[in-house]
């Protein structure tokens, strides 16, 4: 077993690209930052607030998300929704995700008998 730090680096690297997928997928309906964070964490996605908020901002600047400030409540909240461009990106990423999963399984075997 590699040292903890090394292991953490492998995991972070492996997850990095998948976060975009998770965020785009969860924003088919409008959500604000903290609500999205809780949804992702409930789904066992390992993401922290300080990663999610900058990621939302980046995806918005890349026009994959649209946003709206809701000022009707006592606190203003920024709601994000996936844009048409974002949907297209999500579709392509999901296809690639599926391909990669098949390839990795073909190479390493299914989850049960790996590492043996």
């Amino acid at each position: 077993m590699p040292e903890n730090d090394t292991m953490q680096n492998f995991l972070t690297e492996l997850r990095r690209g998948s976060l975009t997928l998770a965020v785009l997928g969860s924003l088919r309906e409008p959500r604000y930052g903290y609500a999205l964070l809780q949804i992702l964490q409930e789904q066992q996605i390992d993401i922290e607030a300080n990663t999610l908020y900058p990621l939302l901002r980046r995806l918005e600047s890349q026009e994959l998300l649209t946003s709206d400030w809701d000022t009707s409540e006592s606190r203003p909240r920024k709601y994000y929704t996936v844009s048409a461009k974002g949907k297209e990106v999500l579709r392509q990423l999901l296809t690639e995700w599926g391909n990669m999963q098949r390839s990795i399984e073909a190479i390493c075997g299914k989850g049960e008998d790996n590492g043996k």
Binding site: Y32, G33, Y34, A35, E48, A49, N50, T51, Y53, P54, R57, R58, S61, R75, P76, R77, K78
Partner: protein, 340 residues
């Protein structure tokens, strides 16, 4: 309490935003503030605020995550070239300016009419070392600024060929035997400058070049004639020029490259030509030394052959053979260094 919590949040948000490009600051502040309040329960106390802020991490790291473009003075694309340039510019500039500093120090102590040797020596050395070090720092600063400007003026590195690079441009695998240590180039540079300075001082009569002979009591003679010494100065300067180019080539390339080889061979051939020309001059020796030699029967022991002294002829032959042998060995070395 409420105020203190609000104040903490404002300070945090501000500290993150001030690290970002100006046009993004207000947006990020607004978003971050909203997110932080969402993460806090209604009427949260100061401890709860602290907990949330620690969860978000230090303002430095959060701002880093918000930044879309990595920040650096010199990007990885230029870094190798930057270090490569510093590796020869710094020692070269430092040593050259240090030598100039020695000269400046010598002139200054001479002007102050200093006579004590330790005082003169320390004046010269401290001037040279301080000028050399400050010049090396200047070179470091300006090289860095030059690369940073190239980096940030948006000049993307030029892509060559269809693939952005060419297999043909790959450097040859270097033969470790062809390496020239940095110290060699620097030592040659220092020695040739010091030697030239000494020769010029002799020629100008500041350092009398005399020999003592016991001839029924000790007699001092100036060995060389004044006309010969005057002629020597421009020759020495030309030699120095070629030596400096050769040393710079060695400091820059640090291996037997074509540039180093050519400058080395040129220097040797020029040296040889100038020396041959000089030793065949008619009036090398001073009149007094010449008559002294005649008196002790020197010219009878080593006679002239065809109008030229035997010593001069022998020296000529040795010089030509030695130079040619040296030139050939340097060319062979360079060719070997380029063999695959």
């Amino acid at each position: 309490m409420e105020n203190k919590s609000t104040n903490l949040i404002e300070r945090y948000v501000h500290d993150v935003a001030r690290r970002l490009p100006e046009k993004e600051r207000e947006d990020v502040k607004k978003e971050l503030r909203a997110n932080i309040y969402d993460m806090l329960p209604e009427g949260a106390n100061e401890d709860a605020v602290k907990k949330v802020l620690y969860e978000l991490g230090s303002p430095v790291s959060l701002a880093e995550k918000y930044r879309t473009h990595p920040r650096y003075l010199i990007s990885p694309a230029y870094y190798d070239e930057y270090v490569g340039a510093l590796r020869w510019i710094l020692p070269l500039v430092g040593v050259l300016v240090m030598l100039i500093g020695f000269a400046v120090g010598a002139v200054e102590t001479a002007r102050d009419a200093a006579t004590s040797i330790p005082f003169v020596a320390s004046g010269i050395i401290s001037k040279g070392v301080s000028m050399g070090i400050s010049a090396a720092f200047q070179a470091l600063v300006w090289t860095t600024i030059g690369f940073a400007v190239a980096e940030h003026s948006g000049q993307k590195k030029e892509k060559v060929g269809e693939h952005g690079w060419r297999v043909e441009d790959l450097p040859e695998v270097q033969n470790p035997k062809a390496r020239i240590p940095l110290s060699e180039g620097i030592a040659e540079l220092v020695l040739s400058v010091v030697f030239t300075a000494l020769v010029i001082l002799v020629c100008l009569g500041y350092l009398p070049f005399m020999m003592a002979f016991s001839n029924g009591g000790t007699v001092f003679f100036n060995i060389f004639s004044p006309s010969f010494l005057a002629m020597l100065i421009p020759f020495t300067l030309v030699t120095l020029l070629f030596s400096v180019v050769e040393s710079i080539a060695k400091i820059k390339d640090r291996r037997w490259s074509v540039f180093v080889c050519v400058s080395d061979v040129l220097k040797k051939l020029v040296d040889m030509a100038l020396t041959l020309y000089l030793i065949h001059q008619p009036h090398i020796l001073s009149a007094e030394f010449h008559s002294f030699l005649a008196d002790v029967g020197f010219f009878r022991a080593v006679p002239n052959v065809g109008g030229t002294n035997v010593i001069v002829l022998a020296f000529t032959a040795i010089l030509i053979i030695a130079t040619l042998a040296d030139v050939v060995s340097k060319i062979v070395k360079t060719v070997k260094a380029h063999e695959k």
